[in-house]
Subunit: 421 residues, 2 copies
């Protein structure tokens, strides 16, 4: 066992050392070269469609006893391969996040100080058996000037390697180091543990997947983590809400897609408006196939709703279920959100500016929305072009993580011989 | 033992819960109230000078077997108390970092998105027996809208509690929650371990102290850490350097103060300029009391220098010693810095713009300087007004950490009923 662990650690150290060298080259690569690599990789994905489908078929054949949802996420199709290629082309079209001057000022002694966006260095990406994440994460890290070590779920290893071969071909065509994008050289589970321990070798771990994966990464990591944990999002209908707007926002926030982290899981509704509005909201959602877990006050207004337990208000349903609670005003809504929320995204629906400002100012969440659907919490919808995830921690980046958030910064200080007194 | 550990954990959990409540209030406190608290605390420090000196005298009396340097850092004097008070007043005079709109844009669907500076929440500060850090850290966190739990070295506990009482009095006078600034309620060493494990209760740990302390915190923490690790800074003299400028910069960068993290530890000098310049640099520094650890090529140019071992180039001297190496051009200098440096601060001295740009572009360090002393790496010198430390990691903040860097951000999204398609 120790020999296996030592060997796994050695494999990680070698990969990380190669990645560091590649990161130095990538950090100063001109935009055109990175974009050439992305476009060439996209062309390779399209050209090798048959090989990708064959590798994926082997993964699927070997993967027995999995849920339908798992198999669906694992499955590649010609349309999905084309979508991966398009994704890389879209990343190529985005502005280069590296080297942006974030701010610049001159000190009284004449020193010019510039804060400049810089690549993070070596990123470790840990994700489940979703082949498309291999292409997305590689593309985003490459454009952001960081090398990446990709460790996807072992069930998707053949697919990941086939996709990786296309990206390596793109790097080679553009004259960039192949080690800039690496797939974990072993399916050994100890490799993830080695990544999490690799302080100094890996600069940032990004976990992407279910709660279990993310929790394990956050607990074990000795390396900074940009975690996408829970999205227990709330929509709060204030008593001064426009009824039609509230109905359409709740339906969209809950039911447009129930499985994404920005989906609303709990509806908070003011007691003053609930009798007039909640029956219509329930009818709207029922017609869309949604079930309910409601507190006593809501059940008194709309008979026949299932009773909510306290645990229901702590549950990220990711399904067609809505927790419902009647509250007495904005501060009660904020109290509930503080107690049960995950600081991801919450929305208020109201026509009252002062109340909206009160709500937004006191919210600790990464994203606070006013008169909009919580499902807008998304890198694409924010205008970032692409995202590697939604960050739910408090440091470095919060909310959608696009190319800019995948960068760090440094300072350049330009002098003419100044000495510190 | 387990009972003690449980009790320590319980104390930390209670402190963190109180801190969280206080942080909610601080996050929306108007600037004037925070500044009132800071100024009132400064007045209390001055008014209670005798009590502070008495508490400090008890600490000093109990602290036996310590080095002179340690005792000096632990000692309070009337001048040092006044300096702490002035420090708080200076923080009060700085702009409020909370609520700044960092960027704002409008999406094609009409959504207005604002990125807004926000307090981090609950900060845990772990430091050595330096009473002044108690006042500095409390003042900076308070102004940045975060609650803070302060855990200084146990030898300074009485001094810290006396200073803390002044700050609490200031908070009370301004109507802010007293739990916004707390001193660890026990000198039990397990309290630090409990802080480091407190994921979800403490949002950020800031260690400030020697390498041993910082390394332990980085290894054990389950909470994000903003670490100030080593400052193994380099000054590189390029062959096109102005001789007089190079001499004055090296003397300042090494000898102005040898114990600060921005002090230059290694001089790299081009072979093409070393015969003409190195003897003068050595003479300058010798006159200031500096010793040398030099490679063979340097010793061939200036006889009598002590020979450097490889380990010397990995050593943060924090003393009047300079490692010296002769290199063949800018890329050799960059190679050395990558291999031996700590990504803190490096400087190049040259009159050649293209070489300077080449050097700065390829440097991974938090701060790269051109024709300036590395000792300028300092929050005050950067214009931040005050700093809580220098961050040497790659995430969230790099270089001097002032009020802005003690904030995180969130988004406000303002709509008019938009639904996600």
């Amino acid at each position: 066992m120790n020999a296996v662990a030592d060997e796994t650690t050695r494999l990680l150290e070698d990969a990380a050392r190669d990645a560091r060298d590649a990161a130095h080259a990538l950090a100063v690569a001109p935009r055109a070269r990175k974009d050439d690599a992305l476009r060439a990789a996209a062309a390779e994905l399209r050209a090798r469609e048959a090989a990708l489908l064959a590798a994926n078929a082997e993964d699927l054949a070997a993967a027995t006893g999995l849920t339908d949802a798992f198999r669906d996420r694992l499955t590649l199709t010609p349309a999905r391969i084309d979508a991966m290629a398009k994704g890389l082309e879209e990343i190529a079209a985005l502005p280069d996040p590296v080297g942006r001057v974030l701010s610049e000022w001159t000190r009284p002694n004449g020193l010019v100080i510039r804060r400049i966006a810089q690549p993070i260095g070596v990123v470790g990406m840990i994700y489940e058996s979703r082949p498309n994440v291999t292409a997305d994460a590689a593309g985003l890290c490459l454009k952001a000037g960081s090398a990446v070590i990709l460790r996807g779920g072992s069930e998707s290893l053949r697919s990941a390697l086939a996709i990786h071969a296309c990206i390596v071909a793109g790097l080679r065509e553009a004259g960039l180091p192949e080690a800039a994008v690496q797939v974990a050289p072993t399916a050994n589970r100890g490799f993830v543990a080695a990544m999490l321990r690799a302080a100094g070798l890996i600069d940032l771990i990004i976990p992407r997947g279910g709660k279990g994966l993310v929790t394990r990464v956050m607990e074990e990591a000795r390396v900074p983590v940009l975690a996408h944990a829970e999205g227990l999002c709330h929509t709060y209908i204030h008593q001064a809400a426009d009824h039609a707007m509230a109905r359409s926002i709740v339906a969209n926030a809950k039911m447009r897609r129930t499985g994404i982290c920005g989906a609303t899981e709990t509806l908070l509704i003011d007691a003053a408006i609930a009798p007039a509005l909640l029956p219509a909201i329930v009818a709207d959602l029922r017609a869309l196939g949604c079930g309910f877990r409601a507190d006593e006050r809501a059940r008194a207004i709309v008979p026949g709703l299932d009773a909510a337990t306290e645990q229901d208000f702590r549950t990220e349903w990711l399904d067609a279920i809505l927790s419902v609670k009647v509250v007495d005003g904005v501060d009660a809504a904020l109290d509930h959100i503080r107690r049960y929320g995950s600081e991801h995204t919450e929305a208020i629906v109201t026509q009252d500016d002062a109340v909206a400002r009160h709500f937004l100012d006191r919210l600790g969440s990464a994203v606070g929305m006013w008169n909009a659907s919580t499902q807008f919490c998304d890198g694409g919808e924010f205008g970032f072009g692409a995202e590697i995830g939604i960050a739910t921690g408090r440091l470095h980046a919060r909310g959608p993580v696009g190319l800019e958030q995948l960068c760090t910064y440094r300072y350049h200080v330009i002098g003419t011989g100044q000495l510190r007194p």
